[in-house]
């Protein structure tokens, strides 16, 4: 790991901006704003005698941050304005396919495309291949078979705000995920044309977004690699359509890599360069970031991390663990005793789809099987529902627990890891039931 860049003063670092004008700009920004934007309220204390003012998501579901409006999007929960990070509010999960205008957004770096000229844009395949190739957007449309897959795109750090002790990173509630029908060309069809040379180890994907940091530093560019022998490559789609429409700019226009069943970290947006590597990718974004503890629950402790003995594995090499969520009821209003309702939600997994979802209305003492909605494929959200009539007024703890196609079941205990990754504990929804009189 090199820390050399840190020693370079800003004047010599390749930034053309004097620090002064940047500071001045911020003063102007702050002055023009007049007043501070509302900040997340400190929502709940954390079991330490109520002294802590750590911010937790309000009703345990979304991050409690103000909404923001950006191009092509409805108001979404703004976790960061630059780079843009937006969380999808819970009601949008009522639909199995998340609307494009409500689909979450996550960038690491802030030089995000505002405009792309398709007459100049090319997708290129280079490096350890027999025939380096470039494809225009119309070639992708006309020269390759078009295929579709419904797949969940979920940030590795989705639900990070639940980790305790709290960990740095985007403090997502549960809305760092979405489900869409992705249409495009098979990655393998492009690779076959280019011809991977023997001993290719990895495929590195990079898009048009970049950062204002000096070239060569991790904050200058974001690229991710998949192992060249990973069977997931056969399922990857280079998508030019999302739910039957062009991709919104902030979801990766003109094309993004879709890696079904895997976390978003490798679903490169504005995909423009595919490079075959004869050696493993040892960059920051593969070796330092997005590493999961190498055990089935991806769990560790601060002590084990401090000991330096923790073995980790790249998140992009593993399927997403099974999860399930309540969409209704969401706790935003009281239910009425003896008035029937439908408990409904979604579930998904990177390992063979959803086999079953169980629901408890008594805090996990007893469980009932929910009915599963129609199957949009193993990588999609699976809708589930269960009729329920609360008989008595009071407070109820609803829980949902999914089992995936490989028999994995969601854990009932929290996990911890320093990246705040791969949270999949059983969700609890508290609801109050009122008197009917």
């Amino acid at each position: 790991m090199s820390y050399q860049h840190g020693a370079t003063p800003p004047e010599e670092s390749g930034l053309t901006l004097p620090v002064y004008s940047r500071r001045r700009a911020l003063q102007i920004l702050a002055g023009a704003l007049g007043a501070a934007l509302p900040l997340p309220e400190a929502a709940r204390a954390q079991g330490d005698g109520g002294r802590s003012n750590l911010v937790l998501p309000d009703t345990h579901w979304n991050a409690s941050v103000p909404a923001g409006v950006v191009p092509q999007k409805l108001p979404l929960l703004r976790l960061s304005d630059r780079p843009i990070v937006l969380e999808t509010p819970r009601p949008f999960f009522d639909s199995l396919l998340t609307p494009n205008s409500a689909f979450f957004v996550r960038y690491h770096l802030d030089v995000i495309p505002n405009a792309i000229d398709l007459s100049r844009w090319r997708l290129s395949i280079r490096g350890h291949v027999s025939r380096p190739l470039e494809f225009s957007f119309s070639q992708l449309l006309s020269e390759f078979e078009s295929v579709s897959v419904v797949a969940v795109n979920q940030c590795t750090g989705n639900s990070r705000s639940r980790f305790f002790p709290r960990v740095p990173g985007t403090q997502w509630g549960n809305g760092g995920m979405g489900n869409a029908r992705w249409t495009g060309v098979r990655l393998m069809d492009l690779l076959e044309r280019a011809g991977l040379r023997p001993k290719t180890m990895a495929l590195r994907f990079q898009g048009l977004d970049s950062g204002r940091s000096v070239e060569g530093t991790p904050a200058h560019s974001y690229a991710k690699s998949l192992n060249a022998h990973d069977p997931i490559l056969r399922e990857c789609v280079i998508a030019y359509q999302m739910n039957g429409a062009p991709l919104p700019m902030l979801n990766g226009f003109p094309v993004r890599l879709v890696v079904p069943g895997r976390f978003s970290t490798c679903w490169i947006k504005h995909l423009s360069w595919i490079e075959a590597l004869p050696e493993p990718d040892r960059s920051h974004w593969m070796m330092n970031a997005y590493r999961l503890p190498d055990n089935p629950r991806h769990a560790t402790t601060p002590e084990e991390v401090a000991s330096g003995k923790l073995r980790t594995v790249a998140a992009s090499d593993l399927p997403m663990p099974v999860r399930s969520f309540f969409v209704q009821p969401d706790g935003s209003s009281k239910l009425v005793a003896r008035l029937p309702i439908e408990l409904k939600g979604i579930a998904f997994s990177g390992s063979g789809g959803i086999r079953q979802v169980e629901v408890s209305t008594d805090g996990g003492r007893s469980w009932k099987l929910a009915r599963l909605d129609s199957d949009l494929g193993p990588y999609s959200f699976r809708g589930w529902r269960l009729p329920w009539t609360p008989q008595r007024p009071g407070r109820y703890e609803l829980r949902c627990r999914a089992m995936d196609g490989k028999g994995n079941v969601q854990p009932t205990e929290p996990i911890w890891n320093p990246g705040g990754y791969a949270w999949n504990m059983v969700e609890t929804q508290t609801v109050f039931v009122g008197e009917a009189a």
């Binding site: 003063p9 940047r22 911020l26 405009a115 950062g211």
Partner: protein
């Protein structure tokens, strides 16, 4: 690399942008017509124009992205943090974190330096000091921190 931060004082519009695309990883044209352009959105709502952008060229544009900066807590070290911690992202990210203990803030600053933050070694302690004082477990609560700033 040609970069420009232009402040347009007129009204409340402030642009933060690049006049030219960043150098693509593999040379040659990449179709990036405009990138990294932000505009201060003082209303919290840059109204979408429809249909946008109202032409049929091969360039697909969405316009500037809105900036909604949250001011930092006032205190010694604030200017350092404003200049060094706003290069790659807005300082909003700082207040958006939980109240970390000093050792976590120290690791965060080290992480930023590893990512490319050009912070001279002799300034690290001052920056960490400011962060733990205002964004640590005993710091000013975020809401009043916002109200007290604005130079």
């Amino acid at each position: 690399m040609n970069r420009l931060l232009s402040c347009i004082a007129a009204a409340t519009m402030v642009f933060l942008g690049l006049v030219a695309a960043p150098r693509p990883a593999f040379g040659n044209a990449d179709g990036l017509a405009e990138a990294g352009v932000y505009a201060l959105d003082s209303t919290g709502l840059i109204l979408p124009v429809s249909p946008y952008p109202g032409n049929s060229t091969s360039t697909y544009s969405v316009g500037a992205y809105p900036l909604a900066p949250t001011p930092l807590a006032r205190g010694s070290g604030q200017e350092l943090v404003e200049s060094y911690c706003s290069i790659c992202h807005s300082v909003t990210l700082i207040g958006a974190q939980p109240r970390f203990p000093p050792e976590v803030w120290k690791k965060e600053v080290e992480k930023m330096i590893h990512l490319g933050a050009p912070i001279p070694a002799e300034l690290v302690a001052q920056i960490v000091d400011y962060l733990q004082k205002h964004y640590g477990p005993d710091g000013t609560p975020p809401s009043s921190a916002g109200a007290k700033s604005n130079p």
